[in-house]
């Protein structure tokens, strides 16, 4: 216990002697104002481009091409959105992204739980080796798989299918999922399992009745974190998918670059706004859970 009460805000005491009360009050305020201004500036840099994207999607083509890029739209128009839907296949693209994200997530969650259960709960001789193998997938870049998978897919006729995107996306996300699940399983007390074992439950029933239901919170984390990367995947889709009907959102957006590289910017921006809306909504609604997930993903992984 210190005799003086600790100051509520930390004074920037450069001098070894304790600052006088009046200085203590003034100096931190300057510091706080400065940091508040700086934080606000940085937030503007982060957010303004996105706001600009949205505003531009509401400007008329002529207004945007000739006017000041920073200007607010003179009159709002939805006509860009109509053109965006005419040019592209937005509905189909969104549906495809949805299928791929769902498919990959089911695999990541289910297989991640199973691997973590085997490693952490059942335990076996080479469990440390298997853990190490999964670490490789976090470190190596995804590009290493492009050429081999392209060759393998063409042999087994998987090119240009949903699976061709789902398999590598799930495979490369699996390690993080295994780590998140196993670090959670560490905290399930041994006694829970022992009690169930005494009641005669085998490893399958214990998985289904105890481990799986307890994991639901971690499932949310795993799904949220991975969905950002899977929903936005460009490289696997671009390499393995050709047909228009299978194109996911990132590929669909490329259709807006017309012949000779001429771009209908306002319609493109409208399309971009449409395609980022689903994930953005999920993010804004669930941002607490998502932020927690991202934090734990890094500190535990």
């Amino acid at each position: 216990m210190t005799i003086q009460a600790a100051p509520p805000t930390r004074p920037p005491a450069v001098v070894p002697s304790r600052p006088a009360p009046r200085r203590r009050k003034r100096r931190p305020d300057l510091f706080h104002t400065l940091s508040r201004v700086l934080v606000m500036l940085i937030v503007i840099v982060q957010v303004y481009p996105l706001a600009w994207l949205f505003l531009t999607s509401l400007r008329s083509e002529h207004d945007f091409a000739t006017g000041d890029p920073f200007a607010l739209p003179g009159s709002l128009t939805w006509e860009n959105y109509a053109r965006a839907f005419e040019t592209g296949n937005l509905g189909q693209n969104i549906l495809n992204s949805f299928v791929v994200t769902m498919g990959a997530n089911v695999l990541i969650v289910l297989l991640g739980m199973m691997a973590a259960y085997a490693i952490q709960v059942l335990g076996f001789r080479f469990s440390r080796l298997v853990r190490g193998l999964f670490l490789i997938g976090i470190i190596v870049p995804v590009q290493i798989a492009l050429v081999p998978l392209f060759i393998d897919y063409s042999k087994v006729d998987l090119l240009d299918t949903y699976q061709s995107m789902i398999i590598p996306l799930a495979g490369f996300s699996l390690p993080m999922s295994v780590y998140l699940f196993s670090s959670f399983y560490e905290y399930i007390p041994k006694e829970t399992y022992e009690a169930a074992s005494l009641d005669g439950a085998g490893p399958y029933r214990i998985f289904g009745l105890i481990t799986l239901p307890l994991s639901l919170n971690t499932v949310v984390t795993v799904v949220l974190v991975n969905s950002i990367f899977i929903w936005n995947d460009f490289i696997f889709a671009n390499t393995f998918v050709l047909s228009e009907e299978l194109k996911t959102i990132p590929l669909g957006l490329q259709n807006y670059i017309g012949a000779m590289g001429k771009v209908d910017w306002t319609a493109t921006f409208a399309a971009v706004c449409v395609t980022i809306t689903p994930l953005l909504l999920v993010f804004l609604v669930l941002n607490k859970a998502m932020i927690q997930g991202l934090e734990s993903g890094a500190t535990k992984g």
Binding site: R18, L50, T275
Partner: protein, 298 residues
Amino acid sequence: MQPTRMLPNRSRTSVLVFLLPPLLLYGAAVLFPILQSLFLSFFSWNGISDMEFVGLANYLRMFTGDDIFWRAFANALVYLAICLVLQLGGALVVASLLTSLRRGRELVKTLYLLPAVISTVAIAFLFVRIYSLEPVGLLNQLFAWVGLGGLERPWLSDVNTVLAAVSAPEGWRFTGLYMLIIYAALLAVPKELEEAAVLDGASRWTLFTKIRFPYIRPVWITTTIMATTYGLRGFDIPYLMTNGGPGQSSELLTTYMYKTAFTSTDFGYASTISVFIVVECLVAVGLILFLLKRKADA
């Protein structure tokens, strides 16, 4: 060390039932392709004709006879450096400032993370327009307003600026992610430690270097590794914005590998470059662990 075993009686089969399906997927998508790349890197193959074993010829070509490779390697390092400064530097500054903010922390966190949920294609479109000169984009307009009109240029077709111009969006989009992680770590620094240091007359700077930073070092190592491996695999934004151009001035190893594989259909040589990228990532992670851990012990 004895492996953990929470269930006293479980059969060997049950382990296999749970372990095999995940390993199968992971093996097919990740482990096997790595080995395949290693194998292919010793061959010359265009995907149609017969594969021809060439020994180390691809590696010789890469290290001694390929200027584009070295150019791309140098560019990739610059790209990585810019990403690291923006992401880790920016993240650390904002996270530190955020801890001294009294209100609105949650809002700042959310807004700051916003770019991370947007697809790289959308970001590429956005930045092409931000950088453009004709019609004037946001960046050039901004320079004109603050009286730095001399700096106006077509950022993406100027060979001197294009590399920085394609690196910045990648840095920009993930700063929020790393800020979040570092901020969470900073919050975990025990208040008693900080208060004691303040009572002893520590300045803000000493407080940061002597108390806060050492405390968050493990998380800092993780974020550095994350940011580095992500920076080294950067591909989408340069590929979409400039496709490595003009010339090779924004070519990265990843874009060069991609073009070698899927434009020149030289699968053997592309695999050699992939193997190099993997080795580069492993070396980078090793170096980070070595340097940051050693400093911690010193």
